[in-house]
């Protein structure tokens, strides 16, 4: 078998060395009754690379890919062009097949990269520091809520209606067990985000306000007043960014006063991948750093005085603190962080700004074009690369009908908020740099016919 180097004669020699007659002797501690002697049920024997590749190809071919036609889905996962260099580098064995850098002397490649990544994320978010990544945006969001509880010693978190409903769902699930009190809301199809409502709800028990920017409907609004209101009550403002490319065009949450900024980094370098693996981004202000969850890479020196990098503040972590750890997280999303960092390095400030400008320009073009379709109404006039339209009928069947024509038209709010009938006509349309004039025309035409 191609992955197993031992030969039958190796096995014999090694059994002799360990003093066992057969391999079964080494499983002697397994109770007789629990030993499997027969083959694994239904599983065929080992297969050639060619056969496995064929099997997987057949499954892959059953999916309609984002590249197959006009594509407008967003809502927490965005299709961007990922440069070939990114995939080339992350496939280098030295990155791909390394472990967590517990032995820093022979892991400086990963560690320096993480240090650079942390710096990139902190600057993008406009905060002081960032960690070495987390599972994804939704879990990073929940970690931020628990961090706010640790910092403020309060248990009430106010979640904006503009927060991704799946993120809300994750937080609700966790809060059931931790006893956090979450105040949640459903968004409304209005032009403005719910900032004013949020400000009104902050009280002395509030640990934090969680607001998404741009929000689930694509809307953007200034967070400064909200931040001030939070700070007035000694609560923290947590901003969630699911489309980091936006921060190449619009102010960062940190600039506007957010204390913790978390996000989903998938947009930069990672790709769609049906939802995972993705990349949780987590940054905060310097004064909160010792309550920050997840791995951190820090600068230090070696015994000869040379600069080097190590994992640090591990006294917060489970392998040292066990049940007193800030989080049970043991894994980050290292390879995705690498992909993000490479893509960001290729972009640089100049490229990121151009990319963001291209996204926004495309989105404006699409918004303008779709506004002209009878039965389509643009909900908000301040957005980045994603906006919501209200259709003259339920959006979900419209999306289905367009998919059959090869147009993946966006995310229907009926899919995201199945219980909110008032949102059922909403369609969230994401328009990135990958969208062409023809794509926009195909969407407009498709909508026109579906709504006719």
């Amino acid at each position: 078998m191609r992955y197993l180097p031992l030969t039958p004669s190796d096995r014999q020699a090694m059994l002799a060395k360990v003093g066992a007659k057969t391999i079964d002797d080494l499983f002697a501690d397994v109770p007789e009754a629990a030993r499997l002697d027969g083959p694994i049920r239904d599983l065929p024997p080992h297969a050639s690379e060619m056969a496995v590749e064929r099997h997987m190809s057949r499954l892959a071919a059953k999916n309609q890919t984002a590249g197959d036609g006009p594509f407008f889905l967003g809502c927490g996962a965005y299709k961007h062009h990922v440069p070939a260099t990114v995939d080339h580098i992350i496939q280098r064995g030295e990155f791909l097949t390394a472990y967590t850098p517990y032995q820093p002397e022979i892991a400086q490649g990963t560690l320096q990269m993480l240090f650079e990544f942390q710096t990139q994320v902190a600057r993008l978010f406009g905060v002081d520091v960032a960690n070495a990544s987390m599972y994804d945006g939704s879990t990073a969001c929940w970690e931020a809520i628990t961090m706010a509880r640790r910092v403020t010693k309060r248990a009430k978190a106010i979640l904006s209606g503009g927060l991704h409903p799946h993120y809300v769902s994750v937080a609700n699930t966790m809060a059931k067990f931790t006893g956090d009190h979450l105040v949640t809301a459903t968004p409304t199809l209005t032009a403005e985000p719910d900032t004013a409502d949020l400000i009104g709800q902050i009280d002395d028990d509030t640990s934090c306000v969680v607001v998404q920017y741009p929000d689930i409907l694509g809307r953007i609004g200034d967070l400064s007043d909200l931040a001030d209101a939070c700070h007035a009550k000694k609560a923290l403002l947590i901003a969630v960014v699911t489309e980091p490319v936006a921060l190449g065009a619009i102010k960062s949450p940190g600039e506007m006063g957010a204390d913790i900024v978390v996000g989903e980094g998938q947009s930069i370098g990672v790709g769609l991948q049906f939802g995972g693996p993705y990349l949780g981004l987590f940054g905060c202000s310097q004064k909160l750093v010792r309550q920050m969850p997840g791995r951190l890479c820090g600068e230090t020196t070696d015994s000869e005085g040379k600069r080097g990098f190590v994992l640090t503040l591990s006294t917060r972590e489970q392998h040292i603190r066990r049940e007193k750890a800030t989080s049970n997280i043991c894994t980050n999303s290292g390879l995705c962080a690498l992909a993000f960092s490479i893509h960001m390095t290729l972009l640089g400030e100049a490229g990121l700004r151009k990319l963001a400008a291209a996204n926004h320009a495309r989105a404006c073009q699409a918004a303008e074009r779709l506004s002209k379709v009878p039965g389509v109404e643009l909900v908000s006039d301040a957005f980045f690369n994603e906006f919501t339209v209200k259709l003259s009928q339920e959006a979900r069947p419209v999306v289905r009908a367009l998919a059959d024509r090869g147009v993946l038209a966006g995310v229907s709010l009926g899919r995201l908020f199945p219980e909110a009938a008032e949102l059922a006509n909403g369609l969230v349309v994401a328009v990135t740099e990958t969208v062409t004039d023809e794509d926009i025309e195909a969407l407009a035409t498709g909508l026109q016919e579906a709504l006719a």
Partner: protein
């Protein structure tokens, strides 16, 4: 050659990408234009390739040599699986596409789920957890949901002293008190002590099997029976499933929930610390509490069961753990791995992993203290202690000296129950020649440590860096780069 930081060589105006300018209608940014510099230097494509290629060469990796980290299962990552994960049909689909446009993706999840359930002898599996510790949390939440569903408010979880740190951390995160279970001298859970502690306040026991001393818990079934008799549930840490896959099914041992590290047993790449993937298999008792979303086969194809479609028979689900459906990119790799090995291959995996570990144990027990050498064969990893080293010499010295021999060190100081523990897991993808060379290297280092060779304490000498000062890093953490003048000003 030293590789400077990106921030020392990049410039804000440099870029490695050409982006087409799109003629924009009037901007609609609501007056929020970002004006100040962000501070993100760029590099041209050639500089980028070189920066990261050079950085990569400062890493050790399984592609370069043995990576014997106990409990981490660093085995070969097949390149076929990388190719498969990148097929556009898997890599370029959006998690919120209409389900009839992603039937192949759902079928992958369904097939992998089927084989995970089959291999573990369990009843169902939750695919969405993002890593091992996330899987642990999933399992404990399901246990808590099940207990609450029957009105039971048990508050304690028992964890062996030798457990992974994630076990107590997870239990605490889920709102439980954690109590330790002692081990017997031979390195296994003390069944009698456990039985004594069991009572109406105990919600669950978390056991690692094979355990972190590298031993199979012989009494696993008795433990499970006792736990169940006391009205509690059994969580099994599946990090070490590599040792028994195809040979033992945890379901046959009374386990109620167990996570599976796809990046360990099923060889999805570690990538310098993730992404992982930690599906959780459940017994029938816990199945209805499993988290959303999951995939179900229906008459029409494959359905994605989410909040809205959960309906009656999934009303007891404890909720959602992640935004989307789990680590699809790892599912494709793990499925390809399972199909490549097949029934005979997976069994061989466990056999060779165990044989390799025993070979190391028996080849070195004369020179290194092996505290459980008499406890029977080890499973997939061999454990040694620092007993017998010369005064002042530690496990750390041995580890750093191994670096100079061209190897990644073993796991150090874990599990905590063994003093100066060295946990060595070769995995099944190492050849006898490689093991023999490693044994020779470790033997030589061990002999020098016993003889008190002072040179060891300076190791590593031949790595990209000498020993790094971790205390300094933690005392005043520098987590981001700052321009030198700023950094000075801050001091």
């Amino acid at each position: 050659l030293e590789e400077p930081l990106l921030f020392e060589i990049g410039k804000l105006s440099n870029t490695g990408l050409d982006i087409e300018e799109v003629k924009a209608p009037a901007s609609r940014l609501g007056g929020l234009e970002r004006k100040a510099d962000i501070g993100l230097p760029g590099l041209s494509e050639p500089e980028t390739v070189r920066h990261y290629t050079r950085l990569s060469r400062q890493n050790y990796a399984i592609d370069l040599g043995l990576f014997p980290l106990g409990s981490c299962t660093m085995k070969h990552n097949p390149r076929l699986n990388e190719r498969v994960a990148r097929m556009p049909g898997f890599a370029d689909i959006h998690p919120l596409q209409p389900v009839d446009t992603v039937q192949g993706a759902l079928e992958v999840i369904h097939q992998l789920a089927h084989w995970l359930v089959t291999l573990t002898g369990m009843h169902s599996v939750a695919m969405s957890p993002k890593a091992g510790a996330h899987g642990e949390l999933c399992g404990i939440l399901a246990i808590r949901a099940a207990l609450e569903a029957r009105g039971d408010t048990r508050s304690v979880i028992l964890v062996p002293e030798s457990a992974h740190g994630t076990n107590p951390a997870t239990a605490a995160f889920a709102g439980y008190k954690v109590e330790n279970i002692p081990a017997t001298k031979d390195g296994r859970v003390d069944l009698a002590a456990l039985q004594e502690r069991l009572g109406p306040d105990v919600a669950a026991v978390m056991i690692t099997n094979p355990n972190t001393c590298g031993l199979f818990e012989r009494d696993m079934k008795a433990i499970s029976d006792a736990v169940h008799a006391a009205g509690a549930l059994v969580y099994c840490d599946g990090a070490n499933f590599n040792a028994i896959v195809g040979r033992v099914r945890p379901g046959d041992l009374g386990v109620d929930a167990m996570h599976i590290n796809l990046h360990k047993t099923f060889s999805t790449p570690h990538g310098g610390g993730g992404p992982g993937s930690g599906p959780v298999v459940f017994s029938e008792a816990l199945t209805s509490f499993a988290p959303l979303p999951f995939v179900e086969k229906t008459a029409d194809g494959f359905a994605l069961v989410e909040e809205e479609t959960a309906g009656e028979h999934h009303a007891r689900s404890f909720g959602r753990m992640v935004a989307f459906h789990g680590q699809m990119g790892m599912f494709t790799r793990a499925l390809a791995y399972i199909l490549s090995h097949g029934a005979d291959g997976l069994k061989q995996v466990a056999e060779d992993a165990v044989l390799n570990a025993n070979y190391i144990l028996r080849s070195l027990e004369d020179v290194l203290d092996a505290p459980f050498a008499a406890s029977g064969p080890c499973m997939h990893e061999a454990i040694f202690s620092d007993a017998g080293l010369a005064e002042g010499f530690t496990t750390l010295d041995i580890a750093k000296a191994l670096i100079d021999e061209g190897y990644h060190p073993m796991t150090m100081y874990f599990p905590l129950v063994v003093h100066g523990a060295m946990l060595v897991e070769p995995t099944e993808t190492e050849s006898k020649d490689t093991l023999d060379q490693f044994i020779g290297a470790l033997r030589s280092v061990a002999e020098r440590a016993k003889a008190g060779d002072e040179a060891l304490k300076g190791a590593p000498y031949y790595a990209p860096r000498r020993r790094l000062d971790e205390t300094q890093a933690a005392r005043k953490p520098v987590l981001v780069w700052n321009e030198p003048q700023q950094a000075e000003a801050a001091e």
